[in-house]
């Protein structure tokens, strides 16, 4: 073995190869370091996400985008605008009028929380905020119905206007229920689907009732 001791690598032969660090996902710091971007970009990104979800509600196809990237901005905007539009209802005394702002707010948010808890307790696999997000966004058709009702009531308050309002509210109620069911029903165990869908139906029914019975001063 003495001869092996003389073996040496000549310095002329370069040693080369590649040492690569496997790049999987981007490192978190790189993606979310949005501190340096202009504020307009930040806001526009969120606005675009909200807008995309509104479009998803209008054409309810089963897409996981709505479920995965949940946000509660849309539901908040919808709830506040619906509650504001329900103000100004007629009342001889305070007690007999329509729902106050706080009542609408509480009904929508508390109702959504209860329905979410119900579906989770029945064994659903959807997360808490995803479900809140879907239920909140699906209030959008009813907000549109409220807008239409107020416009119709500006024109007149007779029987014809009532029938028009009735048709619009019923149609939007059906749309809301179908949209939210399309998103939520798949995450339930199959023999309990009806148990989960019924509270959603009740929730949108109550909101529709509030919209339909709105009478201006």
């Amino acid at each position: 073995f003495a001869s092996l001791a003389d073996v040496s690598i000549s310095e002329d032969i370069p040693v080369e190869g590649e040492i690569t660090v496997p790049v999987g996902a981007h490192s978190p710091e790189e993606d979310f370091s949005t501190l340096d971007e202009p504020v307009k970009d930040t806001i526009m990104r969120d606005l675009k996400a909200v807008g995309k979800k509104f479009v998803h509600v209008m054409y309810p196809k089963k897409s996981s985008a709505l479920l995965r990237d949940w946000d509660l901005w849309g539901p908040l905007v919808l709830c506040v605008s619906l509650a504001l539009m329900l103000q100004g209802g007629s009342a001889d005394s305070k007690d007999d009028g329509g729902p106050q702002f706080a009542e609408v707010f509480v009904i929508i948010w508390f109702g959504a929380v209860v329905i979410t808890l119900n579906s989770k307790l029945l064994g659903g696999t959807i997360s808490f905020f995803q479900s809140l997000c879907v239920l909140g966004y699906c209030v959008m058709p009813l907000t549109v119905a409220m807008l239409v009702c107020r416009l119709v009531l500006l024109v007149g308050a007779g029987t014809v206007s009532f029938i028009v309002r009735l048709i619009v509210v019923v149609a939007m109620f059906g749309w809301s229920t179908l949209a939210s069911t399309a998103f939520l029903a798949d995450s339930q165990p199959p023999n309990r689907k009806a148990l989960v869908v019924y509270p959603i139906f009740l929730f949108y029914f109550v909101i529709s009732w509030m919209i339909l019975t709105f009478t201006p001063q």
Binding site: L122, N191, R192, M210, T213
Partner: protein, 305 residues
Amino acid sequence: MAAADELKFQEFDDAANLLAANPDATTISIDEPVEIPKKQHSRLQESRREEDDELLGTDDSDKTELLAGQKKSAPFWTFEYYQTFFDVDTYQVLDRIKGSVFPVPGKNFVRLYIRSNPDLYGPFWICATLVFTIAVSGNLSNFFIHLGKPTYHYVPEFRKVSIAATAIYAYAWLVPLALWGFLMWRNSKVMNIVSYSFLEIVCVYGYSLFIYIPTAILWIIPQKVVRWVLMVFSLGLSGTVLVMTFWPAVRDDNRRIALATVVTIVLLHALMSVGCLAYFFDAPELDFPAPIIPVHNSTTVVTKS
């Protein structure tokens, strides 16, 4: 000698032959727990025990106790604990609703349908539906009653929803609490009383309220007779379910206390339904044309009823 004979071992015949020779002999079968033979027991007591077993579930109550213990073993601060109260399928909920609307005479709702799997889904959502049904129907019925009057201005009466919610949820949850406490107290005094668990009582009360949902919708019809007929009908059905559930449980107690308990249950139920009818639904008015009464001097007096 007789003594030697008696000490000698005697072969015994087959049990059937012996019994045929002496039909009234006391028999004991070893594979079951020792029971007094039915032949020597009075028929009334025997049928009563069988009925008890059927109505109260005491024949397999040990087994169900064990199963119940195995199911709800999660500690109460975890989510899984509460999931055990929602362990029902759609067909089970529908069956329970059906059982509360069509009470089968002699069958106990708890034994037949709940079977130690009480759920909170039915009571909670039936109460929620009932709250909104009563509020909406009351509003609609008032609208139709006052429709023609020129001075009438429609109001949504939204305040009544919170009142309805308070009343119905208080009835459906506090009365079972009181009843459960009462049954536990009697259970400690009198041995034979079977006390249901709190959730089973809540279940019975919740499902028994289901009949009021279609009743409230039909109460929109502004006829007094129709409304009272509906009320008696629904009170009869749901009251029967309640009575058949709780009578076997208190029957072994002091006669007076048992009767008082059952009467109180029915009275509270009636109070709730009458109260709902009176508060949320205005009385349908009958419009009499104003009669004109001629008085001695030629002025006429118009009276309005």
